[in-house]
């Protein structure tokens, strides 16, 4: 084989590799975003795992020094009275189910407040429909991020509430999905009823859960 022929063959193989057509999805690769936990959800998980491991002293220290407690203080006006103190007391007493119940109330309250705020912002008629749908989508993501943390605890105590929230969430999601085939975007007003339902169901859950059960603290399924 001559030197020139070797050059040509090597070059052809390399060029075939370089110029191989790529799929449109890989064109202009711009990286992928994987949502991260925020400080509150991270601290919640730390506390929760410490409680599950029955390391109550660790859980108490994480709660005392972490952003979860600071967030409880910041939202004190919309939370059941004494939630922060009672959560701390449950941690100090090593009462795992009670800690779980208090944290469930807190995150349900955060999700409810977000649902109420989303409903308020979607009610504003000055924004265009696309912007309101985009806003609704972002609120739904934030609501789910908090609610998802305690859905198991909710379902364990009150399965009907868990199902109601999930159904309302699924319904709300249908209004924020992109329109297929150039169809007109959904009416953002349709998002409001499921958001209102989420807020109402979670409010009921918070009110019902704020009183500790008299006979036993062990959670049970109601359906």
């Amino acid at each position: 084989m001559t030197g020139r022929r070797l050059v040509a063959r090597t070059a052809l193989a390399a060029l075939a590799l370089l110029s191989a057509p790529s799929s449109p999805a890989s064109a202009h690769h711009v990286g992928a975003y994987v949502p991260k936990d925020n400080a509150v959800t991270t601290n919640f998980k730390e506390v929760k795992f410490s409680v599950q491991a029955k390391k109550y002293a660790v859980a108490l220290r994480l709660f005392d020094t972490g952003p979860l407690r600071a967030e409880m203080r910041a939202h004190a006006a919309t939370l059941p009275p004494g939630l922060e103190d009672n959560t701390r007391a449950a941690l100090a007493a090593g009462d795992g189910p009670e800690v779980e119940r208090r944290l469930m109330i807190f995150f349900a309250a955060l999700a409810r407040d977000l649902a109420l705020e989303a409903d308020r912002q979607l009610a504003r008629p000055d924004a265009p429909a696309e912007a309101r749908i985009a806003t609704g989508k972002k609120f739904l993501e934030a609501i789910w991020r908090y609610y998802n943390l305690v859905d198991f605890a909710v379902a364990t105590r009150d399965n009907k509430t868990s199902v109601a929230v999930r159904l309302a969430f699924d319904e709300a999601e249908t209004y924020v999905k992109p329109a297929a085939g150039g169809a007109a975007p959904s009416d953002p007003a349709g998002l409001r009823p499921p958001l209102q339902r989420i807020a109402r169901v979670l409010s009921t859950l918070i009110d019902a859960s704020s009183t500790p059960p008299s006979s036993s603290t062990t959670p049970r399924r109601n359906s």
Partner: protein, 181 residues
């Protein structure tokens, strides 16, 4: 060794090598600056986004906005990283492919055209990532991406792809031609 058996790789024109080396140097400076000024760059991008809440769809609720800002900052950082990686890689691609073109294509006009396309395309394409990153705070993720696509990625990327296919075709043609002879 006969003359026909001797290796015939040829050095590409000097300006091509200069552009390729400059691309690699820019990649290194970009990578170093990213690490050195990470806090300043993040602060600049964050301030830019907070100054234009409607562009980024910020709703004024921290629990919602922090995710939007985080995604934009991650993509801003990714753009800088991708510029670093692509500028480094495309510098080498320019050297390798223009060397093939200089060695294999005998037709002067075709050789010059392909080398010019490979060099401009290869050097220009990575700049798109820098443009994308720089535009994110002012125009938002998607709009910045569209601008970078039509301003940089599509023209320079197309130039590179067209040049590579032409080069592959010409190399194949010369092989077939030589086989017949």
């Amino acid at each position: 060794m006969r003359e026909a058996d001797a290796p015939t790789w040829r050095v590409p024109p000097r300006w091509v090598l200069l552009v390729a080396v400059l691309s690699i140097v820019a990649a290194e400076i970009g990578g170093g600056s990213m690490a050195r000024f990470k806090v300043e760059l993040t602060r600049w991008a964050r301030d830019g986004m907070l100054a234009r809440p409607s562009v980024h769809g910020l709703v004024g609720v921290r629990d919602v906005d922090e995710r939007i800002l985080d995604e934009a900052l991650v993509k801003f950082d990714a753009g800088l990283r991708l510029f670093h990686m692509h500028a480094e890689g495309m510098g080498l691609v320019i050297i390798a492919t223009s060397m093939v073109a200089a060695s294999v294509i005998r037709h002067v006009t075709a050789r010059r055209a392909i080398i010019a396309l490979l060099t401009t395309g290869g050097a220009g394409y990575p700049v798109g990532y820098l443009v994308w990153s720089a535009l994110i705070p002012s125009y938002g993720l998607e709009r910045a991406k569209t601008i970078a696509e039509w301003l940089v990625w599509v023209p320079f990327g197309t130039a590179t792809i067209v040049a590579l296919w032409c080069l592959a075709g010409l190399v194949a043609w010369s092989m077939i031609d030589r086989h017949r002879a």
